[in-house]
Subunit: 250 residues, 2 copies
């Protein structure tokens, strides 16, 4: 049964792209799952991280949506078992009329989704059309939350509003979980934020907590996942454990 | 001469809100400038940081835009010489037809702007309507860039596209400058990013670099600016120097 997971949080800098890229890489390379990474962010950071220059391809997700093309026309092989549907800056220009022209409100058809074990959709930090497309197409939502005060307030509201999202966009969308990121055990604020999330959402909070690690800032510059860049780092172990949890929660 | 400064960067978590709130607080309290802080982010983090609960006011910027009300109907006094035009989540629902209904494409009229020494507009991490309103209304643009690889690529493009923004939205919009944030002198990546920005944009990069400091993560939880929360910290000194540079560049 194909799983389509949207990685979304309106808060900027929560670790969405870092989670999408590393989860995708681990599922594909280690767990040998056929994995599709869809980049719905006009910043195209997943695309950039995968080593693909935004100018080097002619068809992106923007064209699939606005010209009703089959998904495979934009796919790029990004590694063993890993395929990328690249983004470009035009995604920020999607308008409501583009949606009306689409054959179906989904980014990918049932058949397209079923030819992968996992589809991971990276979202921009906004509730605009790119994110709404992703939430309409996904069966699960994973929300990265950086363990900082500002990140908490709105995120709680987003999670509580999930019921409304489900009614308006997609009945089958379930909360896959909340993953705490950029955790710094030396600061009170990190511990307080994790505590509050666990009290509010219980086992919807992944047990694995991703700590702040400069290697996660460095690995995108080398176009590598954390596993290739620094396989023995804490960050690599944490994303390995997180991937195990995602596999078990299916 | 009234200065209207938009703080914007499509990249999430760049330090936009942190820069807007602390610049506003320093201009108002220390430099005794009459300052208006406009929160154009549907996350309403400036509003939250100022100690104002999103549910406690009935008129926000959303109403000013969609109902053509005068700006003063939403203003809240947020401290000595400091006024706040609060945001609410509905800002993410602004549509093109709301723009057509507005008397003028500006968030504030010339007279409204002239009754303040400084207007600081905090933007969301997206190029949607809230940000476009802010860029249309501002005379200057300050771009915070966190000194990390992913933050660099798109930001360079944004700065290079400023000419296009100026032609399409607002002829008088000039680049006030780029401020480097979350700098960690122990990492190569931080130094490399600063070096690249200085080579590309020269004196458009503010000399003051804001270093990573956990106190900047903590002060929003106490609804205080860095000057009230930890006046002798490096972060406070850096935002003081940054404010001096902004004053001199007018
Ligand atoms: N655990 C971590 N420790 C240290 N740095 C991290 C960690 N996770 C992500 N980063 C870095 O923090 C920055 C923000 O992460 P990322 O870009 O993944 O967030 P995002 O939510 O996708 O941002 P946006 O809202 O712009 O899409 C990046 O530079 C990334 O390299
Ligand atoms: N120099 C700094 N050192 C450490 N933490 C910082 C620094 N500047 C900002 N922060 C923290 O990093 C997070 C992101 O900052 P902030 O919210 O100001 O960015 P933003 O660009 O406004 O985010 P968004 O894209 O969601 O609007 C916040 O939790 C803030 O407290
Ligand atoms: Mg991202
Ligand atoms: Mg902000």
């Amino acid at each position: 049964m194909a799983r389509v997971i949207a990685i979304s949080n309106q808060k900027g800098g929560a670790g969405k792209t870092t989670t999408a890229v590393n989860l995708g890489a681990r599922l594909a390379k280690f767990h040998k799952k056929r994995t599709l990474l869809m980049d719905m962010d006009p910043q195209a950071h997943c695309t950039l991280w995968s080593g693909i220059n935004p100018g080097s391809f002619s068809v992106s997700i923007y064209h699939i949506i606005t010209q009703n093309l089959p998904l495979k026309q934009c796919l790029i092989e990004a590694g063993e078992n890993l395929f990328l549907a690249p983004a470009d800056a035009r995604l920020s220009r999607l308008r409501a009329q583009d949606v009306r022209l689409m054959k179906s409100p989904f980014l990918l058809t049932r058949e397209e989704a079923d030819s992968y074990d996992f589809t991971i959709i990276d979202c921009p930090p906004a509730m605009g059309l790119p994110t709404l497309f992703a939430l309409a197409s996904a069966s699960e939502l994973i929300i990265p939350v950086q363990t900082q005060f500002l990140a908490l307030e709105r995120t709680i509201e987003l999670i509580k509003n999930l019921r409304v999202l489900r009614q308006k966009f997609n009945r089958r969308l379930r909360l896959g979980g909340i993953v705490c990121t950029m955790y710094d055990p030396r600061t009170n604020i990190s511990r307080e934020v994790v505590g509050r999330l666990q009290r509010l959402f219980g086992d919807k909070v992944f047990k694995t907590i991703i700590h702040r690690d400069v290697r996660l800032e460095e690995c995108p510059a080398h176009r590598k996942s954390i596993f290739e860049y620094s396989p023995n780092s804490n960050a690599a172990k944490q994303y390995e454990e997180f991937t195990e949890e995602v596999l078990k929660s299916g």
